[in-house]
Symmetry: C2
Subunit: 126 residues, 2 copies
């Protein structure tokens, strides 16, 4: 894994947001779509890009694709995501918002009235 590839991945705020969310724990495309408020094709393509870089991997569960970090996560990636989350720049604030929204979303999915299929929910918790 070349350092340049990691920097290419980080050179776009949307990809950073995707990586930040996925790093916390696996997520499916529809939720990433919701959290980033971006069209399906865009999310799908950026995930494909991250996959060609070898940074994430996908696994199908029924209709859903679950994306997770490819192991091992390079140090360079981990430390940069950490740095960005801690920063007071606009990107840092964005990541913090995303992280909160993600927690909120997962809480909703876990609620009794949730319409989230169990196949999907279990996959997210694995």
């Amino acid at each position: 894994m070349d350092a340049s590839e990691i920097y290419k991945a980080l050179a776009d705020i949307q990809r950073v947001r995707l990586l930040n969310l996925i790093e916390a724990s696996p997520l499916c495309v529809c939720h990433l779509q919701t959290l980033l408020d971006a069209p399906q094709v865009k999310i799908s393509k950026q995930l494909a890009y991250l996959k060609t870089l070898g940074l994430v991997e996908a696994e199908r569960r029924g209709n859903w694709m679950i994306y997770r970090m490819a192991q091992p996560v390079p140090d360079l990636l981990t430390s940069n995501l950490q740095h960005l989350r801690d920063s007071k720049e606009s990107s840092g604030r964005q990541l913090q918002v995303d992280t909160r929204a993600r927690t909120q979303l997962l809480k909703q999915l876990a609620a009794p009235k949730s319409t989230c299929p169990k196949v999907l929910f279990n996959a997210l918790c694995s």
Copy 2:
């Protein structure tokens, strides 16, 4: 200064090498050219690119252009260069080689028989 811009700068090994060399202390284009063993136009353009990103600045001294880091150097840049220098990947080894070559070069320039013009030498030491 946007984080994405810094990552764009780092997404190319030659630019990383330039930044790594310049970070240690100012250097002129001809020496960067020598150290990276790359054609003049390429170096000049990559320096121009780094300048548009606001990461470096240039100052003319006679025939020579002295490039230095723009102040303040963003944390994100400093820590990444450090990380890369410390890494055992090929890019890390490259930076270590560059740094040694740079020291060697400056030593030669300081030697009594050096043909390096004093204007230039003094600029490099400022």
